[in-house]
Structure formats: C-alpha cells, structure tokens
C-alpha cells in the first residue's frame, strides 16, 4: 500500500526557499508569477492490509517525524 505525503509551511511562516525560487523564476523571465511555496514530499510504502490502520500509521509518522507541526502542515493521500 502506497501513500504520498506533502508537508508544507503554515501560511504565515517565512519560506526563504520559496522566496529565492520565485525571484529566480522571475529573473528567468517567467512573468505573472503570484507566489511560490516550497515543501517536502514523501512516498511511503507499507505492507499493511487494512487501509484504515495504515492511514493511521502514516498519520502517526507525520506527527512524530515527517512534519514539524509548529511550522508545518501535512496532507496524506493513498496512491
């Protein structure tokens, strides 16, 4: 069973990386750019049968390790 997880910075938290990427894209001539935010992405495969249980497990991983809940939010999707 495979899940994708995206971890993004909370709304008002500074995103230095996104800022630099945005500036660079603009300098490369990409116009009409409104905003760029950068985050992390994970693909995790687990050997579980039960989707519910697996999802719960992934959620646990996010809370414990993958996301820093103080500044980040996360989203889980089965793929």
């Amino acid at each position: 069973m495979k899940f994708s997880i995206t971890v993004t910075l909370k709304k008002d938290v500074l995103d230095p990386q996104g800022k630099v990427v945005q500036n660079t894209l603009q300098n490369l001539g990409m116009n009409n750019l409104k905003s760029v935010r950068q985050g992390k992405y994970f693909e995790i495969e687990i050997n579980d049968q039960d989707v519910k249980k697996a999802e719960k497990k992934i959620d646990d991983m996010c809370k414990k390790l993958l996301a820093n809940l103080i500044i980040e939010d996360y989203k889980i999707k089965k793929i």
Partner: protein
C-alpha cells in the same frame, strides 16, 4: 597568470580563495554574478559557500545566473575552470561537469580534515603532485555525495578523469574513509578535456602550515604553468 573569482550572493569562500591566489602570485579579480562580461582570464574559479543559500538544490540557482553563460563559453574555449565545493556543485548544475552531488549520507554537514589521494597527476591542475600522493584537506559541506550514471563512471575510468578520492592515512580507499557516501570515494573529477576540475575539498584552506598545512599549494602552483 590572470584569474577571476566569481562571486555569487551567498558565496563565502570567495575571500579565502582570493587570498590563496594572491599568495601564489596570480593576478586576480573578483567578478560579481550580475556582470555580463568576463575579463580575459587564464583561470576561472567558482568558490565555495552557499550561493543563494543553497535553497532548492545546492548550486542550482547560481547555475542560472548571467555570468555563468560566460563561464560556459570560456570553458568551452579551453579556459581553465576550478570549482571548489559549492563551485563543484554549480559546475554539475551547469552541465560543465557530469553527475550530481547529493546530500551527505548521514544527512549532516561535515567539516573535518580528510585524506584524499591524487588519482591523476598528469593534468594542468595536479602536475606538481605525485601520483597516489596522500593529501590532508579540509572538507565542509552538506552535499558532497557524488553520484553519476554507470556510463559516465566508465568514462571517468577510461579517460582517467577522477582527480581525487577519499582515502585513509595509509592511502586505502575504503568505506570507512568515505566521509559522505560518495560513489567510489570520489572527491573530485575533471571534464573530458581536463580543463575543468570540480572538487569538494578546500585546497585554499591548506596554504599555510601555521594555520592548517600546505597540501593545497601544489594545486595552485601546478596551474601557474
């Protein structure tokens, strides 16, 4: 000999390399990344540091700057190009050198003196060293884990394009002496024409035995002629 050091926002070994070049009697100038022309130079150096904070991927954004097009032109015309640390990362991002520098295997920044072995001393960059000479040079990076395709690896071997490999103090190239997970302990490589050298260790930090040692000096003196 004329040298140019390219300065990006976030470069932080630019002064160090300038000091080394001056000490070795190069006529050096600093070139700001927004410039669109390179002065005539025999050697172009891309220094270490964190160009653009190393945000996105180390070296990626510097690889898209104005000046880098000039560097590519000069390199293709045979100019000598030396990329140290972040400079090596930038050279791989521009495609002047093949392969890529991934995160260190332990995911930590590593700063220490390591042993490296001179693998090819028949180049403009290394001729003052002895073959298989063991140097002690400082490394300081987050992404020094060299990786490349099997085809390119074969080319590196066939054409003798590996400049340095990490080793232990006896010269053995083994897993234990590999600080960052680099493929085959590779610490530095040349392009096919051997006018471009990218390396993770910092030779400019090793030019004064009162501070560290002088193992870096021969790299610069090799270049002098």
């Amino acid at each position: 000999m004329n040298s140019s050091v390219i300065v990006f926002p976030g470069s932080n070994c630019d002064r160090d390399i300038a000091v080394a070049l001056k000490k070795m009697q190069f006529k050096n100038q600093m070139i700001w990344h927004k410039e669109t022309k390179l002065p005539k130079s025999d050697l172009i150096v891309i220094p270490g540091g964190f160009s653009y904070g190393d945000y996105l991927r180390s070296g990626a954004i510097a690889g898209k700057s104005n000046i880098i097009n000039e560097v590519i032109k000069a390199a293709n015309n045979g100019c000598l190009v030396l990329g140290i640390c972040n400079g090596f990362q930038i050279l791989t991002e521009t495609g002047l050198l093949k392969g890529v520098l991934l995160r260190n295997e332990n995911l930590k920044f590593i700063n220490k003196d390591v042993n490296v072995k001179v693998m090819n001393n028949e180049t403009r960059f290394t001729k003052k060293y002895k073959k298989n000479q063991i140097l002690k040079i400082n490394i300081a990076h987050n992404e020094g884990n060299y990786f490349t395709s099997q085809n390119h690896l074969k080319e590196l071997h066939d054409k003798n394009l590996i400049s340095f490999k990490y080793c232990n103090d006896k010269g053995n190239i083994d897993e234990e002496s590999n600080p960052n997970g680099s493929l085959e302990n590779i610490a530095g490589i040349f392009n096919a024409k051997k006018n471009i050298l990218g390396m993770m260790p910092h030779p400019e930090r090793m030019i004064d035995s009162l501070i560290s040692n002088s193992d870096g000096i021969n790299l610069f003196s090799s270049l002098l002629n």
